[in-house]
């Protein structure tokens, strides 16, 4: 039972354009959502998070949007840079991050120079 889903296994975006990565979840108890970036043979690194009391959180080039009614979140990267090429995982937790994270299957983002 995949409670967090990333339906696009891969995405290619031209450098300088906007990258939009999507994530859907099924468990209405989730109240804290995160995005991680992962390079090959390395552990994931935290990018940005959002709690369910917000619908948007922005940090530099990265913005996460949360639509609770649709159980959907997205990560926007603007402008996209070659160094953004990686696998992106969304994750969700209950109790505002005090509980274990449930991850999606990941989306491989490739930025085309």
């Amino acid at each position: 039972d995949q409670q967090v889903k990333q339906n696009s296994p891969s995405l290619s975006v031209q450098e300088g354009r906007i990258s939009i990565l999507n994530c859907d979840y099924t468990n209405s108890m989730f109240d804290y959502f995160l995005w991680y970036k992962k390079y090959p043979a390395e552990g994931p690194t935290f990018l940005i998070s959002i709690s369910s009391i917000k619908d948007k959180n922005e940090d530099g080039r990265f913005t996460v949007f949360l639509n609770k009614s649709a159980k959907h979140l997205s990560l926007h990267i603007v402008p996209s840079q070659p160094g953004d090429s990686a696998v992106y995982f969304c994750a969700a937790s209950i109790n505002f991050g005090n509980e274990k994270l449930t991850f999606g299957t990941g989306t491989r983002l490739t930025i085309i120079p």
């Binding site: 296994p9 995160l34 043979a41 552990g43 995982f89 005090n98 994270l101 449930t102 991850f103």
Partner: protein
């Protein structure tokens, strides 16, 4: 500052051999500790998590076990490895509502 150490980075083991992967965290106390496995098409699958010494929760039935002998030490073990145990294993910690921080991972190949 907090750091997390995970070793070894790579491991090749024959089928039927035992396994021990170790993870330690520095700079924090009473962390929540996690073992994840990354497998193709499966994302990051939570295997075990621990909220304290000797407290282990298993998320999926499998050939692996975990132990937490000390507050900041988390060990992933197996008595007899299977081919299907191959994968990329990640240790992580969080605490106090923060995001989880990951180790560098261990690439395990069972041959």
């Amino acid at each position: 500052s907090q750091t997390i150490h995970q070793w070894p980075a790579t491991l090749v083991q024959p089928v039927g051999s035992p396994l021990s992967l170790e993870c330690t965290v520095e700079g924090t106390s009473n962390p929540n500790l996690y073992w994840y496995r990354q497998a193709a098409g499966r994302g990051l699958q939570l295997l075990f998590y621990s909220v304290g010494i000797g407290q282990i929760s298993s998320e999926v039935p499998q050939n692996l076990s975990a132990s937490r002998p000390q507050d900041r030490q988390f060990i992933l073990s197996s008595k007899k490895l299977l081919l299907s145990d191959s994968g990329f294993y990640l240790c992580a910690w969080n605490g106090g509502g923060t995001e989880a921080f990951f180790g560098q991972g261990t690439r395990l190949t069972v041959v």
